[in-house]
């Protein structure tokens, strides 16, 4: 479902993933500028932000925003690449307040700056620390293309991107279903 919307974002590369292998239903590599819009879109679809993962790659900083849904199966990953020369990304903490801490953590570990963040203090690292522990040596960096062979870097087609709706709600998997406490 989100794929149909996401692929209309300018320059978005949306790929359907093998969920059994990658744990993702949909991966969308989008331009940095489109992140805010895409996050708002995910919010409108009722997804919640699971986490933000920053990876130091040869191209710069790959930031994965993983979203999941309470009733819809499949995890959706929005992926942006902030160039090493300008390690910046727009904050989405105005859309998902929970992103606040995830972004601060990513800023701590990688030194990525989140533009417009309401409280850009270090979260896990000491206040006066200038060290970003997850930065890699240049020789140690891999290209994003080498790291993500599963993503086929082409625009998907709308009909293939529609994820099937689960017939029953996720929760009611077992015969007992869910019990509502008084």
């Amino acid at each position: 479902m989100p794929g149909r919307y996401l692929q209309h974002l300018p320059k978005a590369i949306v790929a359907r993933m093998d969920e059994a292998k990658t744990g993702l239903a949909l991966s969308a590599i989008i331009p940095v500028e489109a992140l805010h819009e895409a996050a708002a879109l995910m919010d409108g679809l009722g997804y919640f932000l699971e986490d933000v993962t920053g990876v130091h790659v040869a191209e710069g900083f790959e930031l994965d925003y993983c979203f999941a849904h309470w009733t819809r199966p499949g995890r959706v990953c929005l992926c942006i690449v902030a160039p090493a020369s300008q390690p910046e990304a727009p904050t989405i903490s105005d859309i998902f307040p929970g992103a606040d801490w995830h972004e601060r953590e990513t800023a701590d570990f990688l030194g990525v700056r989140f533009v417009g963040h309401p409280n850009p203090q270090p979260l896990l690292m000491p206040e006066d620390s200038l060290h970003h522990p997850l930065l890699r040596e240049k020789t140690d960096l891999r290209s994003i293309h080498a790291l993500l062979p599963q993503q086929c870097f082409i625009n998907g087609l709308p009909e293939t991107l529609d994820l099937p709706r689960r017939t029953a709600p996720c929760a009611a998997g077992g015969p007992s279903g869910s019990t509502r406490l008084p």
Partner: protein, 386 residues
């Protein structure tokens, strides 16, 4: 608020790390990092007007160990023991999350018996975790005795888990392709004894604590969490289910043999501390059911796949694997680059998201309520700081 407006208005605001401006006639107190109710080294900076909380800001990082850096600088086997130290109360869930992620990425098969053993031990560990939460929560609320009763049962379960894992708290039991030791008849018999013993104890817990008028007064209507708010902050686990959302990773992203097991997801629509309390107490019963079923269904076979590699090499690519830990959805995101070390390991800790709710929940409540809310989120600080 723009970045410019955020420049701290006074030295107090800066040192206290509060995000909002501090009024000149309010009291700024630092709850923690050594405080009886922050259970570990969490610091919460509070701005108080009398006993009313104007703003609260958790300050993290006191037990930050950079597990993610360790993860990408050692082999999977060497990183595995770290997982018992992330959430030390439900160590097996994190064991499972990491082992599962590596198995998923590297394509390692797990024998069916091992899956059942994992379910049994993981659920026993969940019971243990919930029992400790129960005791510690009552300690937060000023009752000293329940934690002792909880520990009586916890000791039994720890004895049982020590039988196969050798440890009592920070287990390192699951391994890539199975579990490290098989369970025997004695284990099964002891597990059944514990299940029936606990079934007998739960009514006592209910009479002693759950039905207590003071506990009800302290918890009911306190820390009301709406589903919308839970979604905005990414809350999971009993915190989310206490707000009426039946979201459980064991059902939503089925893994292992959970689809074959019959258990319910307790939820409550109320969304206050009492709802979260009741959800956890109901989960205890469900976990007992799961353990019993899994023991009944336990197939013969190997506890570890004979072809399980002694040395895991991660292929290129990435994967996510989520398990339902006692505190919520624990996810390991793993990226391989063809070498034995992961290129990136990301630990998505449920307590991290659940605690990020706290400033919003605590605002406008009394100090005593803040303690009740903090306790009801069931935090494990090493998991938040990682």
């Amino acid at each position: 608020m723009s970045a410019a407006a955020h420049v701290p208005s006074s030295p107090v605001a800066h040192s206290a790390r509060l995000s909002g401006p501090v009024s000149h006639d309010s009291l700024v107190v630092s709850m923690g990092p050594q405080h009886p109710s922050t259970h570990g080294v969490l610091r919460v900076v509070l701005e108080l007007d009398g006993e009313y909380i104007l703003q609260a800001e958790p300050v993290l990082g006191y037990i930050h160990r950079m597990h993610e850096w360790m993860g990408q600088n050692r082999t999977c086997h060497k990183f595995l023991p770290n997982m018992g130290r992330v959430d030390y109360l439900h160590a097996l869930a994190w064991n499972w999350a990491f082992v599962g992620a590596v198995e998923k990425l590297a394509g390692i098969e797990v024998p069916r018996r091992a899956e059942f053993i994992r379910v049994i031990t993981c659920e026993l560990n969940r019971i243990n975790s919930h029992l400790l939460w129960w005791g510690a929560y009552l300690l937060d609320l000023g009752a000293f005795t329940p934690i002792m009763y909880a520990f009586e049962d916890r000791e039994e379960i720890m004895d049982l888990l020590m039988r196969v894992t050798g440890s009592r708290l920070t287990y390192c039991y699951y391994t890539f392709g199975g579990v490290t030791a098989d369970i025997d008849e004695g284990f099964a018999a002891q597990a059944r004894r514990i299940v029936s013993r606990l079934r007998g104890r739960l009514p006592m817990f209910r009479d002693f604590v759950t039905d207590n008028a003071i506990l009800r007064a302290r918890c009911e209507g306190v820390g009301h969490l709406t589903p919308d708010m839970a979604r905005a902050y990414g809350a999971t686990g009993p915190v989310l289910r206490g707000s009426g959302v039946a979201y459980d990773t064991r059902r939503a992203e089925p893994y292992s043999v959970y689809p074959e097991l019959d258990f319910a997801i307790p939820t409550s629509d109320v969304g206050d501390c009492m709802a979260r309390y009741l959800v956890r107490m109901a989960e205890l019963e469900q976990s007992l059911n799961i353990v019993e079923q899994a023991l009944d269904m336990l197939p013969e076979g190997q506890h570890i796949h004979p072809l399980a590699p002694r040395m895991v090499t991660l292929p290129k690519g990435e994967t996510s694997f989520a398990v339902e830990a006692a505190r919520g959805k624990a996810v390991i995101r793993l990226r391989g680059d063809g070498g034995p070390n992961p290129y990136r390991v990301k630990l998505r800790a449920p307590s991290f998201s659940n605690l990020s709710l706290f400033p919003a929940l605590a605002k406008g409540t009394l100090l005593a309520d803040a303690v009740a809310i903090l306790g009801s989120l069931d935090l494990v600080i090493p998991e938040i700081d990682r």
